[in-house]
Symmetry: C2
Subunit: 326 residues, 2 copies
Amino acid sequence: MTEPIRDSLPGMLARAQAGERRATGRLLSIVERGGEPADALATLTHPHTGHAHVVGITGAPGAGKSTLTGALAASLAAAGSRVAIVAIDPSSPITGGAILGDRIRMDDIVASAHERIFIRSMATRGQHGGLALAVPGALRVLDAAAFDVVVVETAGVGQIEIDIVAETDTTVVVLNPGWGDAIQANKAGVMEMADVFVVNKADRPGTDDAVRDIEYMLDLGRPHARTDGHSAWRPPIVCAVATEGRGIDTMIDALTAHLAHLELSGGLTERRTGRLDNEVRRRVRQAFELELARAVRADPTLLAAVRSRRLSPADAAQLLADRVLR
Amino acid sequence: MTEPIRDSLPGMLARAQAGERRATGRLLSIVERGGEPADALATLTHPHTGHAHVVGITGAPGAGKSTLTGALAASLAAAGSRVAIVAIDPSSPITGGAILGDRIRMDDIVASAHERIFIRSMATRGQHGGLALAVPGALRVLDAAAFDVVVVETAGVGQIEIDIVAETDTTVVVLNPGWGDAIQANKAGVMEMADVFVVNKADRPGTDDAVRDIEYMLDLGRPHARTDGHSAWRPPIVCAVATEGRGIDTMIDALTAHLAHLELSGGLTERRTGRLDNEVRRRVRQAFELELARAVRADPTLLAAVRSRRLSPADAAQLLADRVLR
């Protein structure tokens, strides 16, 4: 079981494309570490992308996202698809325990499942370059590695989730009966990102109410909804009991229908173009932030003069801009 | 009643300092319009700042923030203070109506109040430079214009509110009995910014429960709470009925105690230093974003090459960074 210390990126990609898990895992580690190797990997993988259907699964902690993701992946894999799951781990010390439980449950399910399923967790903190760059890079690797479906599962309903959801073709928002007020959840902005709703744990009381709440919200219109590819698409509401595999086929139908809609409406190109444009901008921003931090460190007297009110923030900013920008 | 078409900034500032409302209003308009005159005004006013106690008042729509702000200002003014109120108007088409109602109610109260009170609304959209730059500029003008207390009242509990609250010395979070689950509100991150809690409408049932919820949350600890000047400060909980002026004196005592705590602990310097540093960085960022947008527009083939997968996002970002950054 020896392997070369250093392997070529094209060699690793070829083995990942052939279904070798370890090669896929190593490519994702390169993405996570960031820096020049990650950039070289982006250059290598980018031409091979655009084939995978990237699905985001989001919703409140405890909604059963992991179980649903596992059941979805098992069902897709049974039908012949290669499926990758990227689970975004929470970094919050508050909710860490609960979600870790979810993670363990998902692994139980998937451990017994198909060879065609690949799972990877990514942490939301402590990475070089940050999750905002690592997620598109990971999706690019998995797309280039010839996975048919890439599922990104997030841990909650905050800004990170919204950012990640923006990296997907189809967004599934998972709710529960009695989880309560869909209108309240709407405040977080996640509801408006939904292309498909899944009411999970639909064997519990209150399922009809939950469906009615969502329908009502959809009737009201979604003023901030994604406009790309949304023309004439009303998010379907799927009832599921993920622990028993119920509703998974209906969910897959909804995902397939949404992808077909995006392809026909031009929304798929629009979303993917928007994602690439945003990634380029984010990368330039990251370079700028490094330069700004360097310029601030290089001249501690500058901020000191602002603090002692000898130099205005506007003038200090001008001086820094002259040093950082062309 | 003639006045010169164009007045000097130092002249306007002197008149604002002498209590002339119109001069204060014109200075704030210059801040809102942004650009070079606003920068010149920052240079002029910055040396005169650091005296006002800047208080942020935030909380859910309908919590009675405007009434509370009006009652607070009237009480402070009656005791001899000069008070400025900056009301951040909502731009949301959903909540606009409700908040507009709040605004009108506040004006009713304050119209009959003291000569020492100055009120200004600022819109959250459509401004040159954006609210993120306009708010610190406005606070600087009011501080330099010798107001003793500047109250910034926000419209809701979202990211904008958190950004604005970060510009204040003391943050008041307004809740209502039966407004519900303080833990839920905590998700928005606003609860953790609180230096003082006010349970308004405390003549309604559920006041004790609301106080208990907040105490419970404080007992749990606030993992993400502002660390600056927070050592040994546990936010007091004030019960108030703003419409009847009840609890306002207790609220003023809490604000005064918090300011004294900040001064003793060094937290005041820390907060104000952090705010100035952030403002400088935001201004440089704004200049960067303008340059980036220009560079993207100047070479449309660049993003087109990324979209057609002939150029990776990493390589495109490098090319743009070379053009924008030094």
